[in-house]
């Protein structure tokens, strides 16, 4: 008999909680929280406590599969890999290297994402690599990069506890980032004011000091309105504005028009509440902003992020402990996948592919010529597949048939591809359409690192062997790299990959496995003797001065009509994670939220004659789904909410593929919809 406890990092949200996987006789049987972990402090959420449940699930992919006569059939690794490399070679020579797209994965480790982008850039020769950050925080990366010079959370998770004021918007923190939500509640217990701005009441808003309910898609207006109040009340931090920022006069001019009355007209937020909220935020000595998809997933997402940065800078709430603008990243390693360069315009460490000097540096490091042409984003790739410009996709651990907007459109795009290979742990909706499916190891079966939302690099440790013939993604990427004739794919351990990544990405310069074992380091950490960085922009912004962006309110891409009178917004619930691949295979989580539902306000339900738990049909201009109604006072009249976890009634059949012009993030948070008794 053998019993061991392997300390590792949770595979769900980006908080980065550590826990022990309890292993009996080579089988993961349970999760035990870790008391000494700075992030989770011996607590976990229900998803974390159940993170072992899917590991041994009978649906796990055990063997490579290759499509023969329109049927996925069992194959050897050699045959499956050969099929991928020969198809990619053929398509590259027939249609050019830029007709191939690689989707990296926010569920894979830093080392794996580094290899995925290297596979695209050095082995195939294209910058066409992207991942689901495009669907969540692409606008954060773009927006904060322009405002501050760095696209990541400015402060750290433990700092929430010591803030005087926490402004939470577009984040259902207690459900989507439960342990961060817990810190915010602790701040509240210690007397901090909690402000929540959200079209839905969330578990956090129900205990908040003040809650504002705006109409979806009107966020620029209320943020500009708050800045206006702060300026007219004289509550701004003049010294900070003068010494650390540029562009204040232009901002002042724009926000003038956003009087509390005007804001009430646009957003529906009562003017007294807006004024009160602005005063609470501005009077805090240490005020933190936390936001998530409710800000980023709009067709003006980048602008919205910049507006929040304006708000923080006006009050001088940047560069100090327990302040800042804090995007909460939603996947265990979505921060790391961005850091590792799984983005079409950036090499590892946020270095531009269009910068000649950087390109030369990477060409030298990787020993091969690289493309100087910016690659395609994930959202663009599906559009380009429809037009025939993208012919092949290699997808590592992503499920666009569930996660991308307007699934009908994704399905059509995939059908136009000449070749698609999917590497995953379960037969996902996307894998079922693939030409080759490779079985991957899950987080419990490999070593590596995840980077949490607060830039902390956290160890992922192997607890058990992968099932059947499944292999770790980093091994698969190395095998493919070698087969495609790429140099520099001879890695024996993920540690060696991290060594290479830290040599080419200065923000990871001081990271190595020995250090990660001993301490929690947050990037930027340029050298071995650097302690890492908790608070960004402490003395100066990375780009010198912080840049105010004067931004006007514009309506969302799609507005309601007589036929589609409701605004549909999508998101998560506490019990499931994203496309449900893992959580819906975890019995206890499935028990808590078994099937798809739509939240609708009591008044709207009464008008339509819809009873709680009854079946309804929700339609948009793109499709319709049938699901159960959850009648609640917790959502604005006129707005409905559908969690996007459920394949049997996929919310993304309805959502709109309208993209933010800068970040190309889709507008998951606003689409016009109709609800009928079904």
């Amino acid at each position: 008999m053998s019993v061991k406890h392997t300390l590792t990092t949770c595979p769900y949200c980006g908080t980065g909680c550590n826990f022990f996987l309890q292993v009996v006789d080579g089988r993961v049987v349970d999760v035990v929280p870790c008391k000494t972990d700075e992030t989770s402090r011996g607590g976990l959420c229900i998803k974390g406590y159940n993170a072992h449940a899917f590991v041994n699930h009978p649906d796990r992919l055990l063997h490579p599969m290759v499509r023969e006569a329109n049927q996925l059939t069992k194959a050897t690794w050699d045959d499956a890999l050969r099929r991928i490399s020969s198809e990619l070679n053929r398509i590259a020579s027939e249609h050019g290297k830029d007709s191939i797209m690689i989707l990296a994965s926010a569920k894979c480790t830093n080392e794996e994402n580094y290899l995925f982008q290297k596979l695209a850039r050095a082995a195939i020769g294209t910058n066409n690599v992207d991942h689901c950050a495009r669907l969540c925080h692409a606008s954060t990366v773009a927006g904060l990069l322009q405002s501050f010079g760095s696209g990541a959370m400015t402060n750290t998770i433990p700092e929430f506890e010591d803030a005087d004021c926490v402004l939470v918007t577009g984040s259902n923190t207690l459900e989507a980032h439960p342990l961060i939500g817990a810190r915010i509640l602790q701040a509240g217990d210690k007397g901090a004011k909690i402000l929540v701005v959200d079209p839905r009441d969330t578990p956090l808003s129900r205990v908040a000091t003040l809650t504002l309910r705006q109409e979806s898609g009107t966020d620029v207006a209320w943020i500009n309105g708050m800045i206006n109040v702060i300026i007219s009340e004289g509550m701004l931090d003049k010294e900070f504005i003068d010494t650390r920022t540029t562009g204040f006069e232009e901002l002042k001019e724009i926000v003038k028009k956003y009087t509390p009355e005007k804001v009430e007209e646009i957003t529906g937020i009562p003017k007294e509440d807006l004024v009160a909220a602005a005063k609470i935020y501005a009077s805090g000595e240490r005020a933190m902003i936390a936001y998530a998809m409710g800000i980023t997933q709009h067709s003006n997402g980048t602008d919205l992020v910049r507006t929040l940065a304006n708000l923080a800078m006006v009050t001088g709430n940047v560069g100090k402990e327990s302040t800042g603008v804090n995007p909460l990243r939603g996947q265990c390693n979505v921060q790391g996948a961005c850091d590792a360069g799984a983005l079409p315009n950036l090499y590892p460490g946020y270095q531009s592919v269009e910068d000649a000097e950087t390109k030369t540096m990477f060409e030298k490091a990787w020993g091969t010529k690289l493309s100087d042409k910016k690659g395609m984003t994930l959202t663009a790739a599906f559009n380009k597949a429809l037009t025939g410009d993208v012919k092949a996709m290699l997808i590592f651990g992503e499920n666009p048939m569930m996660s991308d907007p307007d699934i009908g459109h994704v399905e059509e795009a995939i059908s136009k591809l000449e070749f698609m290979a999917v590497v995953d742990i379960f037969p996902t909706e996307t894998a079922k359409l693939a030409d080759v499916v490779l079985p991957a190891a899950c987080y419990a079966e490999k070593d590596g690192t995840f980077t949490a939302t607060d830039r902390a690099i956290r160890a992922v440790r192997k607890a058990v062997d992968p099932p059947g013939d499944a292999r770790a993604d980093w091994k698969i990427a190395c095998d493919l790299g070698k087969m495609l004739g790429g140099a520099g794919f001879e890695f024996d351990t993920p540690g060696q990959v991290m060594a290479e990544m830290s040599a080419v990405a200065p923000i990871y310069g001081g990271i190595d496995y020995e250090r990660i074992e001993k301490e929690m380091v947050r990037w930027p950490c340029p050298s071995k003797d650097h302690p890492g960085t908790k608070v960004l922009h402490a003395d100066s912004f990375k780009i010198g001065r912080g840049v105010f962006a004067p931004i006007r309110h514009t309506p969302p891409a799609e507005e309601t009509s007589e036929e589609f009178p409701f605004i549909l917004t999508t998101g998560r619930n506490l019990f499931h994670f994203h496309t449900g691949t893992m959580t819906r295979r975890s019995a206890k989580l499935q028990r808590e939220a078994a099937g798809p539902y739509v939240e609708i306000n009591e008044k709207d339900a009464r008008d339509l004659g819809i009873a709680d738990d009854s079946s309804v049909k929700v339609s948009s201009r793109r499709g319709s789904i049938t699901l159960s109604a959850r009648v609640t006072p917790w959502i604005r009249p006129g707005t409905i909410f559908i969690p996007f976890h459920y394949a049997e009634a996929a919310a993304n059949r309805l959502t709109n593929n309208a993209l933010d012009p800068v970040a190309q993030i889709p507008e998951f948070k606003v689409c016009a919809a109709n609800v009928q008794k079904g």
């Binding site: 309890q22 349970d30 035990v32 976990l44 406590y49 817990a182 602790q186 028990r591 808590e592």
Partner: protein
């Protein structure tokens, strides 16, 4: 036992308050034979006694290594019964005289107490940490997973959720405080447990963790206490 094999005894530490009995029951589901040695503080020992009495653990397969908690740990846990029946490691410390948190609760009026708990339970995020880390929470089918008692429509789960647990632990809770320490949102669950234990003491002169005495709440249909068959629960 967080270590399978001790390569370097220098790495062993005794200051991490894991509930060993909870870890033991998890392992026990899979390990059907052989002896298990376990480092046990007083609360671990009492929890194990409750489990052995109910035939959920085979006492003859266990070897307890008694660990006396340090004065700091006793203070941090507000522990009133810190010393194990045998001490193999550490020096026995004095129990705390008075649990201030609990005393403060008793000073409140009933109305204030209700308000206090309603506000505390509004923070609950239904992580089940209080049950999962509880050494004496052992039912295969948990009432808290029954829709009738704990509705499945999101969070917070409501008062019933917490009150079911409170009552359910009445004759088992050994006041280890693991529920409170595991709670990510700091609901003061130990004080709630102490409240019920106080009543158990007053009404039945019963204290959980006694290896000999059966719970007075377990009775025959005639209403007689089940003293003669300690293995039925």
């Amino acid at each position: 036992m967080l270590l399978e094999r001790v390569d370097n005894p220098g790495k062993l530490r005794f200051d991490v308050p894991y509930q060993m009995a909870m870890i033991l029951t998890k392992i026990n589901r899979f390990v059907k034979e052989g002896k298990i040695a376990i480092v046990a503080r007083r609360c671990d020992e009492k929890a194990i006694a409750e489990l052995v009495k109910r035939d959920l653990l085979d006492g003859s397969r266990l070897e307890l290594i008694g660990l006396a908690c340090s004065a700091e740990q006793v203070e941090a846990c507000r522990c009133t019964d810190p010393c194990p029946s045998r001490v193999d490691i550490g020096q026995p410390s004095e129990p705390v005289k008075d649990d201030q948190n609990f005393a403060g609760m008793l000073d409140m009026s009933l109305e204030d107490r209700l308000d206090f708990w309603i506000n505390q339970f509004r923070k609950c995020n239904k992580c089940f940490g209080c049950t999962l880390n509880c050494p004496v929470c052992f039912c295969d089918e948990c009432l808290l997973e029954e829709k009738t008692f704990a509705p499945d429509k999101g969070i917070p789960p409501g008062l019933t959720f917490h009150l079911i647990r409170t009552v359910h632990l009445a004759d088992k809770c050994v006041e280890c405080g693991e529920c409170e320490r595991s709670c990510p949102v700091d609901i003061p669950l130990l004080s709630l447990r102490k409240m019920v234990n106080r009543d158990m003491k007053k009404m039945f002169n019963y204290v959980s963790g006694d290896p000999e005495r059966m719970s007075p709440l377990l009775t025959t249909l005639e209403g007689d206490p089940m003293e003669d068959d300690p293995n039925v629960c």
